[in-house]
Each structure stands twice: as C-alpha cells, then as structure tokens.
C-alpha cells in the first residue's frame, strides 16, 4: 500500500479501500449476472425466466462498481484522506476478534455460557474491571436472557453441555 508519504500511523487511504470495495462490488455483480444468465435471463414460454430480474440487477451492480472504481482512480493521487489509523484499527480489532470468537463458541458450547464468558472476559481485559464485577455482569446478563428466552417466551436457543447438565 502507498502510505509512504503519510504519517506512519495511517494504515490505508480511503481511495485505496474505495477501489478494493468497488472491485468486490463488481465481482459480486458479475457473479449475479453469470448465475442469472445460467438460469435463463430472457423470455421463456410462460413469461420471464427466473434470471430475468436479477440479470439487470447484476448489470447495475457491475456498472456502479465500475463507476466508483473509475472515480477513485481519478482521485488516486490527490486524495490523501485516511481510512483507518493503526490505533483505530487496533480498537476495532479489540471488539471484532472477540466477537468472532464468541460466535464460534456459540456454535460449539451454546449461547448462554458463551455470552457469560464473553462479557466477563471483555470487561476484565478490555475494561480492566475487577474479576468479581466482570463475573457478576456476565452471569446476570446470561441468566436474564435464559429466563426471558427459555422460560418465559419458550424460544429455544443453542445450548451446550452446561445447559443439559442443568436439565435443559
């Protein structure tokens, strides 16, 4: 990436990310066009085929992606606006990585224990709260959610070994 001229803390410029996203948008549009074409994007014996509408949607995605890409290309030299700084990205990752880990753990061990652990650990290590306080908040949220969903509204959520130990 071309951050040579900028303050060393800037990780990417808006223009660069704009172009990358425009390319992704274009690729998605092309995918839609291809699939719609495969399905049949014209007029069948009984009316419009399944790909009739999405085909044009895909085309429009491709066109707008291209336009955004060209627009950014024209600003490539002049626009130095920063997309994200190192410190900012770090802050984002501090939420994003635990969130992804949390989702993974919901899949593996159920939602209630995961929520409890996630909130507790996040408060303990990001918020620098004392262990007891973090644990109390985590347990409280989890117990309230359990009462609300499993007992009151009877909406089943993913559960794991701990819940089955408790008889649910």
């Amino acid at each position: 990436m071309e951050e040579r001229n900028e303050s060393n803390r800037a990780l990417a410029r808006v223009v660069t990310i704009d172009m990358v996203v425009a390319l992704i948008v274009f690729a998605l549009g092309a995918l839609v066009v291809y699939e719609s074409y495969q399905l049949g994007s014209s007029w069948g014996s009984d009316g419009p085929q399944a790909g009739y509408f999405p085909f044009y949607i895909g085309l429009l995605i491709c066109i707008s992606g291209t336009m955004v890409f060209v627009q950014s290309l024209l600003r490539l030299r002049s626009d130095a606006k920063v997309f994200v700084e190192r410190a900012q990205l770090k802050q984002v990752m501090i939420v994003l990585i635990p969130t992804v880990a949390y989702v993974l753990s919901v899949q593996l061990i159920g939602i209630y224990v995961s929520a409890m652990v996630f909130i507790g650990l996040f408060m303990r290590f990001v918020g620098k709260y004392r262990g007891l306080r973090s644990a109390i908040v985590g347990v409280t949220v989890s117990v309230i959610a359990f009462a609300l969903f499993e007992i009151w509204f009877k909406i089943p959520l993913p559960k794991g070994p701990v819940e089955s130990l408790l008889g649910y």
């Binding site: 996203v21 419009p48 707008s64 984002v92 939602i111």
Partner: protein
C-alpha cells in the same frame, strides 16, 4: 366522520391494561435503545421482534411502534446532554441543544425537544388519521405496473435526495436486491444464486442484515472513535418544564413550518434525517434570531425535533397503505407485519380494521405516554449513558446475537450477522448508505414480482410503465429523481466553468 368513529373504535381496542403496560414498556425500551450507541430504532426493533411472535398482532405492533417513538425521543437526550447524536436524525439537535446544556439550560433544552417532538408527532398522526384511509382506498385500484412504479419512485428518490455519491447509493441498493433474490424463486420454484449452499436456501433475511449492519457495524465504529462520554447533567423539575412550556408558543411559526417539512419528508423515503436538517436550515433563515442559531437557541432545538418526529411518524404512512416503508425502521415493522401474517398494503385497511385503527390510536396514546416517560425519567436515561463502553459493547454484541439467531433459529445467521457487521463498518466509512440496501432487501421480492406481473401483462413491453397517466406520471417522476444528481452535477460544472480561475 367515518375516520373518527373508526379511530374511537381503535381507542377501545388499545385501552386494555395489558396494552397500556406494553406501551410503557415499549417506550422505556425505546428510549434506552435510542440512548445506547449501537442500538437504534431499526435494529432494536429487529432484535425484539421475535419476542412479540407470541402476542396478538395488535399488541405486538403497539409495543413495537412505542419502541419506535421511544427511540425517536431518546435521540434528543444524547444530543443535548452529551453532544453525541444517538440517532442520525438528532444530529441537528446538537447544534443548539448542546450549547444550551453547557450554559446550564439542559432542562429547558430537553423539555423543549420532548415537547416539540410530541407536537410534531401529534400533527403527523392527525394527518395520518385522515389521509391514510384515502391513500389506501386510492391504492386499491393499483395494478402491478402501478406498484412497480411506486417501488421505482421509492428507490429513485434515494438517489435523488441522497447527498452521497449516486453510484454508491445504487450499488448499495442493487446489492440489497441481489441478496433478496437469493433462494427459491417464488414464481418458477428454481433455486437462484445459492451456488450449492443449502444454508442459502432461505436467502438472506433482512432482520439479520439490519442487526449486523446497524448493530455490530455501529459498535465497531463507536469503538474506533474511542467513545468516552463526558456529558452535562440535567435537572428537570416541574418549574423548568412549566417555564419552558410558557416560552414555546412563541415559536409557533417554526413549529408549523417544521411539521410541514417533516410530514412531507417522512412520506417520501429518506425520512427523518434530512427533514431535521432541512427544518433547522429553514428556521435559521426565517427566524428573527437566525444569526444567533448555534449558540443555544431554544428555537434551534424546536425546529429539528419537530420535523424529525413528524417525519418519523409519517414514514409509517406509505408502509401501512402501500406496503412500502419510508425508512429502515418502518421496513423492520413491515417485516414484522409479514411475519404475523398481515399483508401491508391497501387491503389492510379493509380486512384488518381492528389492527390498523388500533395502531393509529396507539400512535396518539404512545406519544402522550412517551412525553410523560421521558420528562419524568431523564436522569435515569442519562445514567445509562454513563455506563462505560467496555460493558455496553459486549452486552450489545450478545443481544444482537440473540436477535440474529431467533430470526430463523439458525446458527448460520449469527455468522452472517458478524459478516454484515464488517460490511456495515466498511460501508459506513466509505459513505455507502445502508438504508437503501435494507429497503431493497425487504422489498426485493415484492418489487420483482410486481415487475414480472407487469411484464407478463404487457408481454415484455416496457411501455406499460407509461400506459396510463397515473403509472406514467409516477414513472416519469421516478426517472427525474434518478437523474437529478446528474442534472445537479451538470449545473455545478457550468457554474464552475463560468467562475473559471477560482481554482481549489
């Protein structure tokens, strides 16, 4: 007056203890949602939607619409006390609201904001009561071509009224349509765009998208800014409230103007946010104290709040009468109606009278309840804002994951939520608007089927879009709006050409 008797019937439906309790619960939840970063009206309602499936549709919509009113009220609290707009439409409220709070007039600003929100909403509801049945009756004559023209108008007006890059608006919108097309094609039964993934059979549910884009995305953004709340304290007592109320009638002209701006902007999509800015701008130009705006004028709080609330209320009009929501939040409410088995649109007014008039009656009562709740409970809500972000953030992520899972009881949706969160973060930073994407995702199937039906009638001839004055007029207006940015850019270029040499 037929509407009045229907309205009183509506009141009789709403006025049960259970419904009144739901109303207050809804308002309180709504204000909390409006105050917390990362939870807004749209995704707050999206998350709470599954909890209402066991209620009757009327009770459910009362609670959900009250959450919506609450969120509208809540945005003002953060704007005035913390200079942080809790909702996009309360950005304009910070201009004069926060200076007032700094001068120790927070109570006055809050009372002014709440009261004018209430006035705006009330005017919009009265308009709603009398216009909605007429619009619905008119729309009963609509055929597929007319409906598609209205959809077209909805989406083109995003391009025409949006401030950002029109290609980004279109890209975001079309991605929404593409996501709506994923899954089983309702007409032919073929699988579309699933690429062999069984998880994609049901397509992308917009509630998951809303929760991810607005919930997780917002958390990531707030975290990046490293939010530390340092706000003013508010003292509200009866004396301040009464004193402010005594001052407010002075701004009656501003109020009327803002109501008009709000009602108009709410019906066309785009809604509350531009309405609040527009109303603030108009008030500054028209007011005698215009030059003092921005330094803590009560009038500068009245104008945007009245308009935002009027717009927020009238955004429900096209949603109920045509089945076309004017804002993401209205879109979520529409999704709720579909889940309860109610088809929004003109027939709703014929087939589900209890529901429609119950909802309209609850708009009156909900706003009165809202005014009482917010004025009496401001310190409590301000205290919520002081909870550090490192507690709020994980709790909101957890709440979002509950919401995403309960949509389909599918783990895949929770993963999707995380992905949408990242998309929301990047799109927000690159100025891709999220509202058109959500609306396209909600309306995609309906827009496509009305288009296909229209094409079937005309055997693929696009001229059906101009086959009579009504559909032709709407289509032409839509196209005008679509090419409006192009026209504007052209004008700007000509002007720049005339003023050559100024050079930036």
């Amino acid at each position: 007056m037929e509407e009045l008797s229907a309205l009183f019937h509506g009141f009789s439906v709403v006025l049960t203890p259970f419904n009144l309790m739901l109303m207050f619960v809804g308002i309180v939840l709504g204000v909390i949602i409006g105050v917390l970063p990362g939870l807004g009206g749209a995704n707050g309602i999206a998350i709470l939607l599954p909890l209402t499936f066991s209620m009757s549709p009327t009770s459910a919509i009362i609670m959900l619409s009250c959450i919506y009113w609450g969120a509208l009220f809540g945005g003002a609290i953060t704007s005035i006390l913390f200079n942080i707009p809790g909702e996009p439409w309360s950005v304009a409220t910070t201009f004069d609201g926060y200076p007032m709070a700094q001068q120790g007039r927070a109570g006055e600003a809050l009372t002014g904001a709440f009261t004018s929100s209430f006035v705006g909403a009330l005017v919009a509801v009265i308009m709603f009561t009398f216009i909605a049945p007429a619009v619905a009756a008119f729309a009963l004559q609509f055929g597929p071509a007319e409906f598609f023209a209205v959809y077209l108008l909805t989406f083109c007006s995003f391009v025409g009224t949006g401030k950002g890059n029109p290609f980004k608006i279109i890209a975001s919108m079309m991605l929404g349509f593409a996501m709506a097309a994923v899954g089983i094609d309702i007409v032919t039964g073929q699988l579309r765009l699933t690429f062999g993934f069984t998880q994609l059979l049901h397509g992308f549910h917009f509630l998951v998208a809303v929760i991810g884009l607005f919930g997780i995305g917002e958390i990531l953004l707030s975290m990046e800014e490293g939010l530390s709340f340092s706000g003013q304290t508010a003292k509200i007592n009866t004396k301040i409230v009464l004193e402010t109320w005594a001052k407010l009638p002075r701004y009656w002209m501003t109020s009327i103007r803002s109501c008009l701006v709000g009602c108009w902007m709410g019906i066309i999509p785009g809604g509350a946010t531009p309405a609040s800015f527009m109303s603030y701008g108009v008030a500054r130009q028209m007011s005698r104290d215009g030059a003092k705006f921005g330094t803590g004028q009560l009038e500068g709080v009245v104008a945007p709040e009245t308009a935002a609330h009027a717009a927020g209320t009238s955004a429900l009009l096209p949603m109920l009468t045509l089945g076309i929501p004017g804002s993401p939040t209205a879109a979520v409410l529409l999704g709720g109606l579909l889940i309860w088995g109610l088809q929004p649109g003109p027939l709703l007014f014929v087939e589900q009278k209890d529901f429609v008039w119950g909802l309209i009656a609850s708009m009156y009562l909900g706003n009165i309840a809202g005014l009482i709740v917010v004025i009496t409970m401001v310190p409590f809500f301000a205290a919520i804002l002081r909870i550090p972000f490192s507690i709020i953030a994980p709790v909101i992520v957890v709440i979002c994951s509950f919401g995403a899972f309960t949509v389909h009881n599918s783990m895949f949706d929770v993963w999707l939520m995380a992905v949408f969160g990242i998309v929301g973060y990047v799109f927000k930073k690159l100025d891709y608007p999220l509202a058109p994407m959500v609306l396209a995702l909600v309306l995609g199937d309906a827009a496509e089927s009305s288009f296909r039906q229209a094409m079937l009638i005309s055997q693929g001839d696009l001229s059906i879009m101009w086959s009579n004055w009504l559909v032709g007029g709407i289509t032409t207006l839509a196209l005008l709006l679509l090419f409006w940015p192009l026209f504007q850019a052209g004008m700007a270029r000509i002007k720049a050409g005339l003023a050559e040499g100024g050079g930036r």
